[in-house]
């Protein structure tokens, strides 16, 4: 459908000079209005209809022929880029649209790899584009570029991140006060408490810790999403690194009496990654496994090498994730409907968070899960190492 659309467009704009003039003329009076007034052939009627459609598309549209010269430049392109249609037609695409990539924004919340277009007046703006080539058989006839200015989206995104970050900082101060005084009461600093009073204070403490966890997670996610996170890789002794995390989780979930086993070859090589970031991945996968596996369940961590990757496997025989929800499990705030009835304190941010970290570290994450049988997560990290990345923020470990 796109192809026939483009062919018609191509045929139309590639006709004689005279027809170019008519098309200019047609643009000034509305072509659709003209259709009603004058009896014309149905094929011409069709051409004009397409022309009008293209001219009035809300996104910028630039079509080139195979030599890269512009043959269509719609109204939106004119208003976004500042070049008139007459100026643009016949010129090379690169003369009209100057591009600039911004891979490492220094400040602000702009995402990495933003593409900018430069207007006629040399000002630049961020764009979202779709570039496709159109073909006839195996012949490439040219390219179609659709684009829109995403300054507003970026501003909203930045404001959202700033809001989360500000709210989180402001929330931390009163939370710290609640936490500190609760801890002092429990410790008996203001006199000893009755067992009933102590029980109530423990509940206050548990809820406060949950809220602090949530604020920390939101803050860390806004840091990841800002694109400004620092990646500081170091050569890590993998076995020791994971053993320490496994031990921490064992202590934290000791009351669930689960078996947590780690399998890793003794001579496993050192791997270069950011320990602060990757630590979060293991902690999250392991605490998820512990939280969503009943008492006395089994959790296994297995580290291996495959091709050029280090593969980490974390499996449990817990509640599992319903099949029809698995496509949503890496979304922010997703929580399995089958575990909402279980007494657990998840935020729905963990998987989203670690997927971002793994991708930032040039790895991948995948899974297999069945309700009431368990879940297995795998993630890869390049054995060749994660490259360093400059930035402005780190996670609070």
């Amino acid at each position: 459908m796109l192809l026939s659309f483009v062919k018609k467009m191509f045929a139309n704009t590639h006709s004689s000079k005279q027809s170019e003039e008519t098309s200019d003329h047609a643009n000034s009076t509305h072509p659709l209005a003209q259709l009603e007034e004058t009896p014309i052939s149905s094929s011409l009627q069709e051409k004009l209809r397409y022309e009008s459609l293209l001219a009035n598309i809300g996104e910028g549209l630039v079509v080139t022929d195979k030599s890269g010269h512009i043959i269509t430049f719609n109204k939106a392109a004119v208003s976004i880029l500042g070049w008139s249609e007459q100026e643009a037609i016949g010129r090379a695409l690169s003369e009209i649209i100057d591009i600039e990539y911004n891979n490492q924004p220094e400040t602000g919340g702009a995402k990495s790899h933003t593409l900018y277009f430069i207007r006629k007046d040399k000002t630049k703006f961020p764009v979202a584009t779709t570039v496709t080539s159109y073909v006839q058989g195996t012949n490439i006839l040219g390219t179609i570029t659709l684009f829109r200015d995403i300054t507003n989206e970026q501003n909203i995104d930045r404001m959202k991140n700033e809001f989360i970050s500000l709210a989180s900082h402001q929330l931390r101060t009163p939370l710290a006060a609640i936490k500190w005084y609760t801890s002092m009461l429990i410790k008996g600093d203001a006199g000893s408490l009755s067992s009933e009073q102590l029980k109530y204070m423990e509940s206050v403490n548990t809820s406060t810790e949950r809220m602090i966890d949530l604020v920390n997670s939101l803050l860390n996610i806004s840091r990841i999403e800002s694109g400004r996170i620092i990646v500081e890789p170091a050569a890590i002794e993998v076995k020791k690194f994971i053993e320490e995390i496994v031990d921490e989780v064992k202590i934290r979930y000791a009351d669930k009496k689960q078996q947590i086993n780690l399998t890793i070859p003794d001579n496993f090589p050192h791997v270069t990654f950011d320990p602060r970031l990757i630590r979060q991945v293991y902690v999250n996968l392991l605490t998820n496994a512990a939280k969503y596996t009943p008492e006395k369940g089994n959790i296994n961590v297995k580290i291996s090498q495959k091709d050029t990757d280090m593969i980490s496997e974390v499996s449990d025989n817990g509640y599992g994730i319903p099949e029809n929800e698995q496509n949503k499990m890496f979304e922010k705030f997703y929580r399995g409907t089958n575990i909402l009835t279980q007494p657990s304190d998840g935020t729905g941010l963990g998987l989203y968070f670690i997927k971002s970290i793994i991708e930032l570290s040039q790895g991948k994450i995948w899974y297999k899960s069945k309700v009431n049988e368990g879940t297995t997560f795998w993630f890869s990290l390049p054995l060749a190492g994660t490259p360093a990345k400059k930035g402005a923020v780190i996670l609070d470990n």
Binding site: Y181, K187, N216, R252
Partner: protein, 153 residues
Amino acid sequence: MGLFNNIKILVGDKNTTSQAANSNLPTQSTPQKKVLIVEDEELLANALALKFTHEGYDVLKAPNGQVGLDMTTANKPNIILLDLMMPVMDGKIMLHKLREMPEFKTLPVIVLTNAGDADNMRETQFYDNASAFLIKSNVNPDQIVETAKKYIV
């Protein structure tokens, strides 16, 4: 997640537990050590003051970096607990000015903030030699006392 944060954030010393055991020794017999708390949030400053007084320390409080500097030169505390975001003079500037004075070049300073940005951490720890960098909401007063005891001279 948060429960583990406490363990890893302590900087530069792995002997937390053995040091903590020593902390139960009576401190009253020796001349009292002075702790200066530079913090604009009164609730937090008071909590720390109570805790350190209870542990047998002399406690001084300053609501901003300027007063903090004045009190440091006048009272020569043994350790400073330093907030970062404060009116009049923030904690980073106070620490920097402190390090410019030869007398206080190595005075232990524990940064206690909720703004754990990379810049704050770098500037205070690497450039101005802060002893530790703690996130307030991720530690409790006992852990702060424990950390302070490791650095008090």
